[in-house]
Amino acid sequence: MKLLEVIADGVADVRAHGARTALQTLGVVLGVASVVGTMGLTAGGRQQSLNYMAETGGVLKVMVYPKPAETVSTTARERASRGLTLDDVEAIRARIPGYDLVEPAVRRRALLRSPRASKSYSVTAAAPGYAELHELRVAHGRFLCDDDINTSAAVAVLGADRAHEFFGTDNPVGQTLRVGDNAFRVVGVLEHREFYWNRSETWNALGWMNELVLVPVTAIQARQMGAPSRRVDELGLRLASPKDHKEAVPALSRLLLARHGVEDFQVFDRQDRLQQMNEQGRIYDITFLVCGIVSLVVGGIVVANIMMASFRERVREVGVRKALGAKGWHIFVQFLLESVVVTGFGGLAGLLLGVGFVYAIAHLLDQAAVLTPAMVVAALACAATVGVVFGFFPAVKAARLDPVVALRTE
């Protein structure tokens, strides 16, 4: 007899036991739903982090900051260190390949004044590459240019919030902002940017961009604003390509360590962060997968249990089938198929439930719903495996029944 025919017969048999099938399915449904749901949510969270990175210069960004003073114990040698300097920047540019952007930024606190407001804020002195590094977008006017640097021009680019605060308009290009004692001409305004990790979040992760006051790094030096020094408050770099990561990042740390003698700096490496995130995600995935598998096993036990419980009533049926010429394997296939079909249905229902769950949560948190084909395959494979594993014993037992004994069973 053809296997397909036996399978069709088995499916018809499952259809004949609707209520029991639904009950058997429940455990598997919940198990698969929890596997899919949790996988989808962790993947969604990770996707959100990637979205943030993509909004702010991509995964190739490497940031270096001076280590905050209080965390550095003050040995003589460390006190002698001058922290990150423009000399470091030149050394990196000259000696470490693999970066296509090396952008220092200096921050000075200064009193800002316009006809409308007067307040002390941090001013960022940077170069044209700063915009590309952090993916700043200009809404009006232009960003700092090489000419500004070469001529130490007294020009400023404002974040959207600062533009509003000092000029009360979206487009104050051409107006004058006093920075300390000097008059700076506003040449550009940045786009207003927002990024919330989820819908209930009120903290704008891109808020710092809206609060920028950018001036050419040379303009500050030329006007001797603040303490005259070659110190740098922040150094941003961008890897030319992901494959440079392995060489270029350790080389950067080594160079700075060699130049400073102490580790008075911190390197924040997005590639590393991404790797950590993936590893962390994998831990979550495994944890939730184990939970899901536990519930699948429970579901499988329910399947086996109900199959064993209904076994008694079906012993006679097996006897009849054998009297009509069914061989052991016919019965085996019928029983095994029944549990696989039952758990398969459960897997499918669980998948739908899990997907619905992911979309519902994603909608509530305003997060990306991420579902990969791997999840679908994993869910169905888990369900089918449960069916085979837990259907096996009842199927073998049924196949081995002695027809005489089976027929005699009431």
Partner: protein
């Protein structure tokens, strides 16, 4: 008759070993049944007639002795071959009908053909044909529970006949039926035997046995009486 008998049992023993005691259900039983015969097997309970029926039906094999079914030695066959014999050579009719309750009458009748490897279209055609023969053509889509007792037994007979077996083996076929429907079922057997179908009926009902042409009485695992009835 010169042809090979359909059934030849020689010195058949069946011993059940329960662990503590050994019970001999059949003790060196001899029996020969020719093709086309109509035999009633009678006997008190515990006589071994059920065991005999199981062995005749290839549901069980003798502990000792020889059982030639259509020239083939059954005692030494594998369970797979026994299943094939049950499927191809034997048609069972049970006291309690034993129709699968959740399958339609048509599916029930198709089932032996399914196990026999007959394709779907032919299966359906043959099942319908045989249902028509037993007068249940209009009940093909019904579930067994929707039929009367007599209809159920006729459906069961249709299922037994669908593979065109060499013999029909019925175990108390009227035991669950009232007298009238029981008589109707026996009429079906009579008619089948009339067109050459071998029929073996196991019963303790003398009225049922009266339909047969030959009555074999079993006592203590042996044939105690074997007589042909006057036609």
């Amino acid at each position: 008759m010169s042809q090979t008998p359909l059934i030849r049992l020689e010195g058949v023993w069946k011993t059940y070993d329960t662990g503590e005691v050994q019970v001999d259900a059949l003790r060196g039983l001899d029996l020969t049944i020719a093709s086309g015969d109509y035999v009633a097997i009678m006997g008190p309970s515990g006589s071994g007639k059920s065991t005999l029926m199981h062995i005749l039906g290839c549901l069980d094999t003798p502990t000792r002795g020889s059982y030639l079914l259509d020239g083939e030695e059954v005692a030494s066959l594998s369970s797979g071959r026994l299943a094939e014999l049950r499927n191809q050579v034997i048609g069972f009719v049970f006291q309690t009908f034993n129709l699968l309750p959740r399958a339609s009458v048509l599916r029930n009748v198709e089932l032996p053909l399914l196990y026999g490897g007959v394709n779907r279209d032919e299966r359906r055609a043959r099942a319908r044909e045989i249902l028509d023969m037993v007068g249940l053509a209009d009940r093909a889509r019904h579930l067994p529970g929707q039929l009367s007792g007599g209809q159920r037994q006729r459906a069961a007979i249709a299922r037994a006949l669908v593979t065109q077996p060499r013999m029909l083996l019925a175990d108390e076929p009227t035991g669950n039926l009232d007298q009238t429907t029981g008589a109707e079922v026996m009429d079906v057997f009579d008619a089948l035997n009339g067109i050459g179908q071998t029929v073996i009926v196991v019963t303790h009902d003398a009225g049922v046995a009266a339909h047969a042409r030959r009555v074999v009485r079993i006592v203590d695992g042996q044939v105690s009486e074997d007589r042909a009835r006057a036609a």
